[in-house]
């Protein structure tokens, strides 16, 4: 099992989807139990990885590697090639964990075409896990694209009134970004062949030749290729100004869809930036103007997302825009290009998955009872549903970054790293924290405080045990990361160092190996420090 743990984690949900297809659609209870069984099983099979990974966390490189390069389609050089480092490990755990919680949360929310719903949800799980595990660009792209289909259907079938618009917009936007990425991947594939004479999509191999791009084709071509990747990732994150699909998709998606969308899908964009954009284009990310543009977009995202959140009338839309703001911190952390920034960014991604995932659940619980998300419809919920209000308060505080809760740790690390890189950037980003407090506390005040003005709210039942079961694990995690984040930093330490090392001193093929552009490669490595200044 140890050697195939990644495949087991990857395909357990898919097996669940096929098992679901064999159950008659009329037997909703059986379907729900089975789906929850597989949702939990998906999380359970990933648990052994925790202790195993902990033991090898400080070893260099990728761990638990499976398959081999060029093993899947040898004729084109694509392989079934899996492997993880600390970054992908945490994101995989987040995926399996949130997957189980989301499936549990759908128990009563989804009553229509239940079998299809859970089947697509489990397929989605496999797609997302594949993205985080692939060490082969072709395989990565297949998962990246294939994952869109179940998400599109989840929004399109079980979404809100404007679901058709939102689902198609989501699909088209993401596809728009990824087709450019495909072209860039193909370019790197040919570039690798030109340098080494080998056709392969293995990411580990492409790491060794892609940094030579600026030296061979000039900086403009390298920047264009970087942008081709960047568009794909930035749409996914989403970074300002590519974020416009997000509020629509979030508002229309069913609650569990929103949780997964915010919790995991958006992380695929930031993961792509860390895993691909930085190591493949080390010289390009150092170009001062380009880096400034990336940082500026991140800061605009932070402030813009927060400001737009302030004026929302719909709770879910507010949480959706707050994601834009929070993800802005994550991308800011990435482009500090230092170890702390990367650690903070990944940790903040996890935090965002926990906090925002919980916020969507919280909004969903209220929506299930009242079928409206208008903030003005509520008020005084704290007196009607005290347990709910308490948990909501904890998660609101966690999302705004209060010390002792998870959000603070990540934001602090990012801001500290930004300050190290350029104090001015940190100064611009800090207001985002204050604005977060403003929109979240104001929302809390309007919904939970005061007297019950609206008679419809007077007799709302408090949390059911099932709802409590979906929220409490998230609360526990929020406290854990807030009080004792050291294990997380320990896991992220090694991969962050490696990525910073790859950005600062890319290890390309050297003269010892047959390489056409050996000399130019050398000059590329030498020219890197200049660009930093």
């Amino acid at each position: 099992m140890y050697n195939h743990i990644l495949s087991i984690i990857l395909f357990t949900p898919l097996v669940g989807a096929f098992v679901l297809l064999c159950i008659p659609g009329s037997n909703k209870t059986a379907i729900r139990w089975t789906a929850n069984f597989f949702g939990f099983l998906g999380f359970a099979v990933s648990l052994p990885l925790v202790s195993w990974f902990w033991a090898v966390k400080s070893l260099p490189g990728f761990k638990f590697m499976e398959g081999a390069p060029n093993s899947w389609i040898p004729t084109i050089g694509a392989g079934y090639y899996l492997g993880i480092d600390g970054i992908s490990f945490l994101l995989i755990m987040l995926t399996t964990f949130l997957g189980a919680i989301s499936i549990l949360s759908s128990w009563s929310a989804i009553d229509n075409r239940v079998k299809e719903y859970y089947a697509w949800f489990l397929v989605l799980q496999t797609g997302m896990l594949g993205v985080f595990m692939s060490l082969d660009f072709f395989l990565f792209f297949v998962f990246w694209e294939a994952m869109l289909v179940p998400m599109y259907l989840l929004i399109g079938i079980w979404g809100g009134p404007r679901r058709v618009y939102a689902s198609i917009k989501f699909f088209l936007y993401t596809l728009f970004g990824s087709v450019f990425m495909l072209l860039a991947i193909i370019f790197l594939y040919f570039f690798h062949h030109a340098q080494t004479g080998v056709f392969t999509f293995s990411i580990l191999e492409l790491y060794k030749t892609a940094p030579l791009l600026p030296a061979v084709y000039g900086p403009t071509a390298a920047v264009l290729l970087f942008l081709a990747f960047f568009v794909g990732f930035a749409i996914k994150v989403p970074m300002f100004p590519f974020h416009t699909w997000l509020p629509d998709a979030h508002v229309e998606a069913p609650t569990a869809g929103s949780v997964i969308l915010a919790g995991v899908l958006l992380k695929m964009g930031t993961y792509g930036l860390i895993r691909f954009s930085l190591p493949l284009f080390p010289a390009v990310v150092h170009y001062p103007r380009l880096r400034l543009a990336m940082v500026t977009l991140s800061i605009i995202g932070i402030l813009y997302g927060a400001l737009v959140s302030l004026v929302q009338k719909d709770m879910k839309k507010l949480v959706a825009y707050s994601s834009v703001s929070h993800l802005g911190f994550c991308t800011l952390g990435i482009f500090t290009l230092n170890t702390l920034g990367l650690q903070g960014s990944v940790l903040q991604q996890i935090n965002h998955g926990i906090s925002t995932g919980a916020l969507f659940l919280i909004v969903g619980i209220l929506y299930e009872r009242r079928h409206t998300r208008e903030i003005a419809e509520y008020g005084g919920i704290g007196t009607v549903m005290p347990v709910y209000a308490t948990i909501a308060l904890i998660m609101f505080l966690s999302s705004m970054g209060l010390p002792l809760l998870n959000g603070f740790v990540g934001e602090f690390a990012i801001l500290q790293a930004t300050f190290l890189a350029r104090p001015v950037w940190a100064a611009w980003a800090v207001p985002g924290v204050i604005l977060a407090a403003a929109y979240l506390l104001w929302l809390y005040q309007r919904v939970f405080f005061g007297k019950v003005e609206n008679p419809k709210n007077a007799a709302l039942p408090d949390l059911t045990p099932r709802e409590l079961a979906t929220l409490l694990p998230l609360v526990a995690l929020a406290f854990w990361i807030g009080l004792y984040p050291r294990p997380f930093f320990a896991i992220l330490d090694q991969p962050s160092k490696e990525i910073v090392e790859m950005v600062e001193h890319p290890k390309t093929y050297n003269a010892a190996q047959p390489l056409k552009a050996a000399q130019v490669a050398q000059s590329a490595v030498e020219s890197t420090p200049e660009a930093v200044r």
């Binding site: 088209l172 087709v179 193909i186």
Partner: protein, 511 residues
């Protein structure tokens, strides 16, 4: 082979190699004639029985093709027959298989459909086989006359097939339109071919190629050659429905019986491509510098018109007609990128695309065929609404076909587009690659419209969807092929590699 031996009893200038090379075509012709004879004695209610010998004929032709494939490596790289007018090389074998599979699937979905339309006649199957014979002549023709005869045989059979619903005005109109425009384009093609004969004094493609090489060296802008080339291009682009010769496609696709539309969009198009590759890469290779700019223009126009026009369609058959036009645009880009000698990737892309396209597009038409019910035409987007609730298996299969058409991995269609993009990047056509990927995003939109109708909307009528056994078989086969080619493409890529092995340096050997 016993059959070939029988023929050899008659004193003739032809030997075993001739018959072996021509066996698939000869067998299909015999079966087609046999079906016509048997049909005379079948009672009116049993006409659909002719489907069985038709399938048997296709199977026999498949065995004969396999026989050719088996002896090919031992026998140089190609079998030549009948004074060299047919040349069965790996490329031709690949196309033979494509045609046979496409025809077999079309027959499977036709039986029930023709019964509902009350047009069940044995001629249908005989014509279909004759059509396949024509296509094979186009794929294996090494002579301008042979290619033209094949084209006409295919075209004449398909004119009748399109108008097979005799009581249906739209079917008649489509057939007449197709006949008139088709005859016109054939005339232009024949004019171009005759000019080539005029300048070279030969109809053999290899000899023509040498003659053109000399002529182009003497005068790279020879007006007669240019005129001949444009005529030939126009004729062939008409058959694959490339813009600006696409006008017939939506009307014909809409009016023709749905199963015939599927066959037309897949096999007839593949045959057009077979002839196009044969003529452009073998005979007219020296004119590459002349025809590539034309093809760039045609490809871009095809992508633009096909994709944009498909967005607004409400009729599913018209929508798929425009989508099939747009697919031709991608394939043309493969021909723009690769000349078969210095780069073969684009040609591989075309061949792989046609393979994937055979299954995914015919699969989509299979679903449409099953929507045809007693009083429901089954080709409006309303008719497919809520299919997921009525027939989940069909809806899932249709989703697979649509995603594959849109080029979403891990389905077969993705690799077709992938190889086209690969060839464009390989040969440095970055701008064309960018345009092509952008159109693939547009393409997704109209496929999603169908998916939305199936999955999101509720059924417009309560009329149930029942699936006949033959249709079900075709559906499962197409869906399975679309998935298997997508997940395990290696063996199929190897097959394509084998069939393009005739290109490149070995083209010289063939001459």
């Amino acid at each position: 082979m016993a059959l070939a031996a029988m023929f050899m009893m008659v004193p003739s200038p032809f030997g075993a190699v001739d018959y072996r090379a021509g066996a698939p075509m000869i067998l299909l012709t015999l079966f087609a004639l046999g079906i016509l004879c048997v049909d005379l004695f079948l009672p009116a209610s049993r006409k659909q029985y002719s489907a069985a010998p038709a399938l048997l004929g296709l199977f026999a032709a498949g065995l004969a093709t396999h026989e050719i494939q088996r002896v090919l490596p031992a026998n140089g790289d190609a079998l030549r027959g009948f004074f060299g007018i047919i040349l069965v090389d790996p490329l031709a074998v690949y196309f033979f298989y494509l045609f046979l599979v496409g025809a077999a699937l079309s027959i499977l979905i036709s039986v029930k459909y023709l019964e509902i339309e009350r047009e069940n006649h044995g001629e249908f199957y005989a014509l279909l086989l004759a059509c396949v014979v024509g296509m094979m002549c186009m794929a294996a023709g090494n002579d301008l006359v042979m290619l033209f005869i094949g084209l006409e045989l295919m075209a004449l059979s398909s004119y009748i097939l399109v108008g097979f619903l005799r009581g249906n005005k739209r079917s008649n109109e489509a057939a007449l339109k197709y006949l008139l425009l088709g005859a016109f384009s054939s005339a232009i093609l024949a004019y171009g071919l005759s000019l080539f004969y005029g300048v070279s004094g030969t109809t053999n493609l290899a000899v023509l190629c040498d003659a053109l090489t000399q002529r182009m060296e003497a005068n790279p802008h020879d007006p007669i050659v240019l005129l001949a080339m444009l005529g030939v291009l126009a004729g062939m682009l008409f058959k694959i429905a490339a813009v600006p010769f696409h006008m017939w496609a939506p009307d014909v696709y809409e009016g023709a019986p749905t199963s015939v539309t599927g066959f037309m969009s897949v096999s007839v198009k593949a045959a057009g491509w077979a002839m196009m590759l044969r003529v452009l890469l073998f005979g007219l290779a020296p004119l590459r510098a002349l025809y590539v700019p034309t093809l760039v223009f045609v490809a871009l126009a095809t992508l633009l018109v096909g994709n944009l026009a498909a967005i607004t369609q409400h009729n599913l058959k018209r929508l798929l007609a425009y989508s099939s036009i747009s697919h031709v645009g991608y394939m043309l880009l493969g021909l723009v990128a690769s000349d078969g000698v210095t780069s073969r990737t684009g040609i591989k892309g075309i061949l792989f695309y046609l393979l994937a396209y055979t299954f995914m597009n015919l699969g989509a038409f299979t679903v449409l065929t099953s929507l045809r019910r007693r009083n429901i035409a089954g080709d409006d987007i309303e008719d497919i609404a809520g299919l997921m609730q009525k027939a989940p298996m069909e809806a899932i299969c249709m989703l697979i076909f649509l995603l594959s058409l849109a080029g979403i991995p891990p389905f077969a269609g993705f690799y077709g587009k992938y190889f086209i993009f690969l060839s464009l990047i390989e040969t440095g056509h970055y701008a064309l690659a960018t345009v092509a990927v952008l159109f693939s995003v547009v393409g997704l939109y109209y496929y999603l419209r169908i998916a939305n109708a199936m999955f999101v909307r509720t059924p417009a009528t309560s009329e149930p969807v029942t699936v006949a056994a033959g249709v079900n078989l075709a559906l499962i086969f197409s869906a399975a092929a679309t998935i298997v080619i997508g997940l395990l493409p290696n063996i199929f890529i190897r097959a394509v590699d084998w069939s393009v092995s005739v290109l490149g340096p070995s083209v010289a050997q063939l001459r």
